[in-house]
Amino acid sequence: MDGVHDMGGMDGFGKVEPEPNEPVFHYRWEGRVLAMSRAIGVFRAWTIDTSRYAIELMAPSIYLTRSYYEKWFLRNQNLLIERGLIDADEVAAGRALRPAKNMNRGPFTLADVEKVTKRGSYGRPAQAPAKFKVGERVRGKNIHPTTHTRLPRYARGHVGVVERLHGAHVFPDSVTTGKGEDPQWLYTVRFDAQELWGADADPKLKVSIEAFEPYLEHV
C-alpha cells in the first residue's frame, strides 16, 4: 500500500537526533510491550509480515503521532482481538472474562524465552529457477498494490543492477493477503542515486533495496 510508512526520500521530518547514552527502554511499559510482542509470537496467530502490515494499516494521523512502542501496543491489542485470543470487552474491563482460546500449546514461560530472542528463519526452498543473475540490469516494476508490499515507492520504475542473490524467502505480499508463504527469490538491487532522484543527486551515492523477484522486470 502507498502509505505514510514508505518514507524513503520524503522531506520535512527534520534533523536526526541521536540521544547520548540512550536507555534500551525510556519507560517501563515499553519493555513490557516489546516482551509481550515477542512472547505472543509463539502462538503463531500471525507472522512478522502481518504485524508490519497491521502498523501500516493504522491511520496516517496515528502512524505519525504515536510513539514506536505505542504503535506496537495498539497493533498487539488489535491483532489479539481480531484473532480471537482476547475480546474487546476484556480490554475495557482490564481483566479476563472468559477462558483462553485453544492455541494448541501451553503458556509462554521462561523456557520459551531463548527462542524468541533469536530472529526467525525466512529462507525457503525455491519453487523455480531464479529469473535474474548477479550483474544483470533490472527495473523495479511500476506497481501499486493496495495491500502490503516491501517494494518501496522510490525504487519503482527505476533501473538498477542485481548485486546479490539471497535464495528464496517467504514472500510478504502473499503471506499478508492469506495466500501462504509462496517463497520467491530475493535479490539485492543497487541503484545510482541519480537514477532514483535525478541529475542533482549525489553522484557518489548508491542505494540498494532487497527485492523479491515479483518486484522486478527485465530491462
Partner: protein, 206 residues
C-alpha cells in the same frame, strides 16, 4: 479503546502504563503468558543482547584475517562460531568500509535492524528523519552525527526491505597496531556498525 485521551500531556504516559498493564493482566489471567518470562525478555535486552556483541565480531575481524574473510562471506555462520555470540539469525550480512566506500544501513519501511548482534535499535534509527533522508541525502544525515566524509568517498546505502540484516565493518583506526581484541572493541560504537558514525579515535580512550 479510548483514543480521545491520548494527547492529554502528562497523563499520557500514565495512561500507557495502565493500558499496557491491563493487557498483560488479561494475557496472564487467560494463561497465555507468565509475567516472569516477560521480565526475563526485558532483562536480556537490557543487559545481554547489545552492541557489545557486534563490537566483538568487528574487533576479531580487524585482528584475524581468516575471520574477517569468513565474516564477509557469511556473517551468520562466522558469528555463530564465536562462543561470545552464540547462534545468530540467518542472512546476517557484513559489509566492509574502505577508503573508497562508506556503508550505511537503514530501513525506510519500518525499523529492520540486526538485533542479534546490536540489540534493539536506538530511537534515531526508527525516526522518520533517518528513515526518509538516508536514501536520498545520507551526507546530511552523517552531518547530524557530526561526521563528514570526503566528497569523493562513495556512500553505499543498504535499505533493509526484507529479512536480510546488514552490519557495517568499519575501517580499523590507524595507531592501533598490536592492540588486543578487547582493546579494539572499546573503539567500536553501535553507530559505526550502522554506518552513522566512525570508530572512536585511539587517542580518545585511556
Amino acid at each position: 479503546m479510548t483514543e480521545q485521551h491520548h494527547d492529554e500531556g502528562s497523563s499520557h504516559l500514565t495512561e500507557m502504563d495502565l493500558r499496557v498493564r491491563a493487557l498483560e493482566t488479561i494475557l496472564v489471567e487467560k494463561g497465555y503468558i507468565e509475567s516472569a518470562a516477560l521480565d526475563r525478555i526485558v532483562e536480556l535486552y537490557e543487559t545481554k543482547i547489545g552492541p557489545h556483541i557486534g563490537a566483538q565480531l568487528i574487533a576479531k575481524a580487524w585482528s584475524d584475517r581468516g575471520f574477517r574473510q569468513a565474516l564477509l562471506e557469511d556473517a551468520s555462520k562466522a558469528a555463530s562460531t564465536l562462543a561470545e555470540t552464540g547462534r545468530v539469525g540467518e542472512h546476517l550480512i557484513a559489509v566492509e568500509n574502505t577508503p573508497q566506500v562508506h556503508n550505511m544501513v537503514v530501513c525506510t519501511l519500518c525499523s529492520c535492524y540486526p538485533t542479534d548482534v546490536l540489540g534493539l535499535p536506538p530511537t534515531w534509527y526508527k525516526s522518520f528523519a533517518y528513515r526518509s533522508r538516508t536514501v536520498k541525502d545520507p551526507r546530511s544525515v552523517l552531518a547530524d552525527f557530526g561526521v563528514t566524509l570526503p566528497a569523493e568517498t562513495e556512500i553505499r546505502v543498504w535499505d533493509s526491505t526484507a529479512e536480510t540484516r546488514y552490519l557495517v565493518v568499519p575501517m580499523r583506526p590507524a595507531g592501533t597496531e598490536g592492540w588486543s581484541e578487547a582493546q579494539l572493541a572499546k573503539l567500536i560504537t553501535r553507530d559505526c556498525m550502522i554506518g552513522a558514525g566512525l570508530p572512536i579515535k585511539p587517542s580518545e580512550v585511556a
